[in-house]
Structures are given as structure tokens and as C-alpha cells.
């Protein structure tokens, strides 16, 4: 008699436990997915470092030409324009976007024309 009562109770316990587990799992997965989707952490960080690299390359090689560069699954847009502050200055405007066209990161710096 005692054993039978315990078995019945275990089934109920198991069902409740499974429901709790499933609820906790689904809530946590949803929360993490939501955070990751909203920030796009990986892409943004990677994109920013690609922009830094491109800026360093531009300054080193003095490639002051507006252009679009395909890198991995990203498109870097480099826009060079004259600075309104001084004739001797240029503005380098860099943008990185993923295939879908979403801009992940931007970077802007003013440099000397003949530096």
C-alpha cells in the first residue's frame, strides 16, 4: 500500500518537475536569444575591428579614395570628403553593413591631406 502511494506521487511530481524545467528553459533561451538579436554583439564587434583595420590601412597607404570594399560577409563603405574646417583636412567616413544592408558600425576621423 505504502509503495503504491509513493509511485503515484512520483508521477505527479515528475510531471510538475518537467513543466517547471521546460518553463525555465524556454524563458532563459528566449531571454538570451532576444538579447543576442537586439545587440548583434558578435557582428558589431567584428565589424568595428574591420573598420579600424581599414582606417589604419587607409592612413598607412594614403588611399584617400571613396570606395566600397567587400570583406567576408560585410560591405565597407569608405567615403572621403573635404573638411569644412580647413582646406588641408579630409574626413574619412567608414561604414560597415552586413549582407542585409543593416549598418553595424561607423567610424569617422579627420586627417591631414598630405600627412
Amino acid at each position: 500500500m505504502v509503495n503504491k502511494k509513493i509511485k503515484a506521487s512520483s508521477l505527479l511530481e515528475t510531471i510538475v518537475a518537467m513543466v517547471i524545467l521546460l518553463t525555465v528553459f524556454s524563458i532563459s533561451i528566449l531571454a538570451i536569444q532576444n538579447v543576442l538579436r537586439s545587440v548583434q554583439i558578435g557582428n558589431k564587434t567584428y565589424g568595428y575591428f574591420l573598420l579600424q583595420e581599414e582606417l589604419a590601412k587607409t592612413l598607412k597607404n594614403k588611399q584617400y579614395i571613396s570606395e566600397e570594399i567587400q570583406k567576408d560577409n560585410f560591405i565597407i563603405t569608405k567615403d572621403i570628403s573635404d573638411s569644412p574646417l580647413s582646406e588641408g583636412l579630409l574626413i574619412i567616413d567608414l561604414k560597415i553593413a552586413c549582407d542585409s544592408g543593416t549598418v553595424l558600425s561607423t567610424l569617422r576621423e579627420t586627417v591631414m591631406k598630405d600627412d
Binding site: 517547471i20 524545467l21 531571454a31 574646417l85 576621423e109 586627417v111
Partner: protein, 420 residues
């Protein structure tokens, strides 16, 4: 068989899972915040670099100015620039700010020598052409009186240098000596008025600076400290660096134990004791003596600014094995004053530019150029004008990255000497 306490165990496991999940969520949130801070920081770094580029591109209308500029006319990227003369060089401090963060960077800048001053030798025109003797080597463009150079015997020394007397272009020098920049000269004159006690940032008004400190370091993003050499707090001080003007209205002998970097020293005369090493700009009215084995690193400056006719023996003297990297300049405010002199002894080295509005006696080595009215070679038996003996002057051995001051004729383009 499932035990009766299964629910309890599952609740514990769920609690653990919830804790881990919330930890991950919190970490992600924290990472997101840090990423945003990182983005702001890097944006400011780029704005700071832009501010530096702007400062360097600015046509110099005034040596000292404060500006606040909006880099892209969008109201979100602004920098503050505070520029001033620091001795014969310039210093600018740039501050980029936004979202509660401010980044500051100070740098020293100068100017590359112009074609006129980027020479091995520049002598004012006269009827006496240059004569060279002994083991003399000259490399670089030279402006010489009458455009002539000849080998000569002096005190028994015959010419033993290269077959080509000057390895470089020879041009006839103009009738006038090279003119120095009047605004930089005015700044030097201002320094030599010793009027520092009235300055609001005089060190005596900083009683919090303890005498127990063995070093004083002042950032160029702060205001200048004017410290009297007689200040008791300097007695045990061993190191001075940065935005500091050390002054004395009495002649000083700089002790070996006081190391300095980037500071300005103002005194009637200064003696650098043997084996002294540092980076500084010295401004004197009477004399500067650099003892043997003294090393003054780039960008150092020795300026003798003679403003009194009474001082007949205004002189900069670089003794044996001393080395100065930067600019050595002897200037007299009196017109046609020949009694201002620079003596470079055998074994002494100047890397940079050497200027005298009077004469230079150079028996040492110059990696760079020498500009003066005339050279005076003093031997045991005679004084010879426009003679060089056992001298090496090699413009090509000066660093191609050498940046001087616009005190001497210079290109208009500014160049960074160092970040501070």
C-alpha cells in the same frame, strides 16, 4: 524507480538553471553596456586624433590660443584645443569629450627647417671666403661668402679631408644673416624678464606640494608651474618633468642629481655639470656652459639671448664629449653685434641646428647645420675669420625626421615632435 523527492530535486536543479541563465543574461547586459562605452571611447579617440590633425593643419596666426571646434558641424563631436609656445617649440593640448567621458592628449610640435636653413653651413657674405684645414669634412648645401671655399694651412695643419672640399652644392651667401622669427624672440624676451612671481600659477602658491617629494611632474594639460630654483622644496628633489618653468635671477650650476625632462630653465647663466643628462630648454642672457660628458637629448634647446651691450662675453660653450640634440642658438638683440659667440670644442657633438648672430668656433662635430655671421678659429697664435679646422659638419647624418622650430626659417607645415 523514481523517488518521492523528485520534485524537490527538480526544483533545486531549476533554481540552479535559473541562476545560470540569469547570470548569462546579466553578463550579456553588462557586455552590451561595455560595448556602448567602448564605442563612445573609440569615438572620442578618433575625435582626439581629428583635433590633433586640425591643430597641425591650422595656419599659425597666433602662437597661443584656445579654441572649441565642432568637427563635423553636427553638434556631437567637439574638441577643445589649447595651444601655446613652449620655449621655442609649441605645445597643444586637445580634449575630446562626450557622454561624461573626456580624453586629453598633449603634444609638442615644431617645424621642419626650410630650404634656407636646411644647410650644412650658412655664413653671411663678406670678402673672406671659407678656408678649411686639417681633417675637415663638410657634407650638404653651403651658403658661403663669395661662394668660395679653399684648403688652407693653419698653425701647421694642412688640409687632410676628402678631395672634394664640400660634398654638396655651394651657393653664394646673401649679404644679410638669417633673420629669426620675431614672435618667438618676443616670447623668449618675455621669459627672460623673470616676472614669474606675479603669475597665478607660481609654485609658491601651491603649498600642498610637499617638500618630501623627490620628483615633481606636471602635465601639459594643466597650467604651468613656475618654480624658483631657490625654492626649498627643490633641495631634495631629484626629478622634474613636464609643464614646469624653473627660473633663477642668479647664475646656476645644474646639479647632476637633478634630472629634468621637457622643462624650461631660465637664468642669467647656466652651467651643466659633467655627466649631466636631460631634456630641456635653457634660456640665458649671459652664458651657457656645457661641461664635458654632458648629454642633452632631443628636443633640447640652448638659447643665449643677449640684450645688454655691457655683457661683452656672451657665449655658449660646449666642452669635450658633450652632446646636444636639438637647437643651439646665440642671439644678440643689438644690431651688428659681433660679441656673441658659440664655441664647440673638439669632441663635442651637436645634432640639429647651430645658430649664432655673431660667430662660431666649431672644432667638434655637427650632424646638421651651422648658421652664423662668421666662423672664428682661435689657435695658439692667431684668430682666423671664416676658417674651419678639424671639423665635421654633415647634414645627411641628421635624422630625416628632425623637427626644429620656427625660430629659424622653417616650412609652414607643423610636425609632431613628441606626445607628452
Amino acid at each position: 524507480m523514481i523517488r518521492a523527492s523528485a520534485l524537490f530535486i527538480v526544483i533545486v536543479i531549476s533554481f540552479l538553471l535559473a541562476s545560470i541563465t540569469s547570470g548569462i543574461v546579466y553578463y550579456t547586459f553588462y557586455y552590451k553596456v561595455q560595448l556602448a562605452n567602448h564605442a563612445v571611447y573609440h569615438r572620442l579617440v578618433h575625435n582626439l586624433n581629428s583635433g590633433i590633425a586640425y591643430t597641425l593643419s591650422l595656419a599659425e596666426t597666433s602662437s597661443a590660443y584656445q579654441k572649441q571646434i565642432d568637427l563635423y558641424n553636427e553638434g556631437s563631436d567637439s574638441v577643445k584645443i589649447d595651444a601655446k609656445l613652449w620655449g621655442i617649440f609649441n605645445i597643444a593640448s586637445v580634449e575630446a569629450y562626450g557622454k561624461g567621458i573626456a580624453l586629453k592628449k598633449a603634444f609638442m610640435y615644431g617645424y621642419a627647417p626650410s630650404k634656407e636653413s636646411n644647410v650644412a653651413i650658412y655664413l653671411k657674405n663678406s670678402d673672406k671666403g671659407l678656408r678649411i684645414s686639417g681633417n675637415t669634412t663638410i657634407v650638404g648645401t653651403c651658403y658661403l661668402p663669395q661662394g668660395t671655399v679653399k684648403a688652407a694651412n693653419v698653425d701647421g695643419f694642412t688640409y687632410q679631408g676628402p678631395s672634394k672640399l664640400i660634398n654638396g652644392e655651394i651657393r653664394q651667401s646673401p649679404d644679410s644673416n638669417i633673420r629669426l622669427n620675431s614672435s618667438v624672440l618676443s616670447h623668449i624676451e618675455e621669459l627672460l624678464k623673470y616676472d614669474f612671481l606675479n603669475f597665478p600659477d607660481h609654485f609658491s602658491s601651491s603649498p600642498n606640494e610637499s617638500s618630501e617629494k623627490d620628483s615633481l611632474i606636471r602635465s601639459f594639460t594643466d597650467s604651468t608651474w613656475y618654480i624658483s630654483y631657490a625654492d626649498a622644496r627643490l633641495t631634495d628633489c631629484m626629478y622634474l618633468q613636464g609643464n614646469i618653468v624653473l627660473y633663477s635671477d642668479q647664475p646656476i650650476r645644474l646639479r647632476n642629481t637633478l634630472s629634468v625632462k621637457d622643462i624650461i630653465i631660465v637664468a642669467p647663466s647656466i652651467i651643466f655639470s659633467g655627466k649631466y643628462q636631460g631634456t630641456l630648454q635653457a634660456f640665458c642672457t649671459d652664458s651657457i656652459v656645457v661641461d664635458s660628458d654632458v648629454t642633452l637629448d632631443y628636443p633640447s634647446t640652448l638659447v643665449l639671448f643677449k640684450k645688454n651691450v655691457v655683457n661683452a662675453s656672451a657665449k655658449i660653450h660646449l666642452k669635450e664629449r658633450s652632446a646636444v640634440s636639438g637647437i643651439v642658438c646665440a642671439y644678440s638683440t643689438l644690431t651688428n653685434d659681433d660679441h656673441i659667440h658659440v664655441q664647440v670644442n673638439k669632441g663635442a657633438l651637436v645634432k640639429g641646428q647651430l645658430y649664432s648672430s655673431g660667430s662660431i668656433d666649431c672644432q667638434g662635430t655637427i650632424y646638421g647645420g651651422m648658421i652664423c655671421k662668421t666662423t672664428l678659429l682661435k689657435t695658439n697664435t692667431s684668430i682666423n675669420e671664416n676658417y674651419l679646422l678639424n671639423t665635421t659638419i654633415d647634414l645627411t647624418k641628421r635624422s630625416t625626421y628632425f623637427v626644429g622650430s620656427n625660430l629659424l626659417p622653417a616650412n609652414s607645415k607643423k610636425k609632431v615632435i613628441k606626445y607628452l
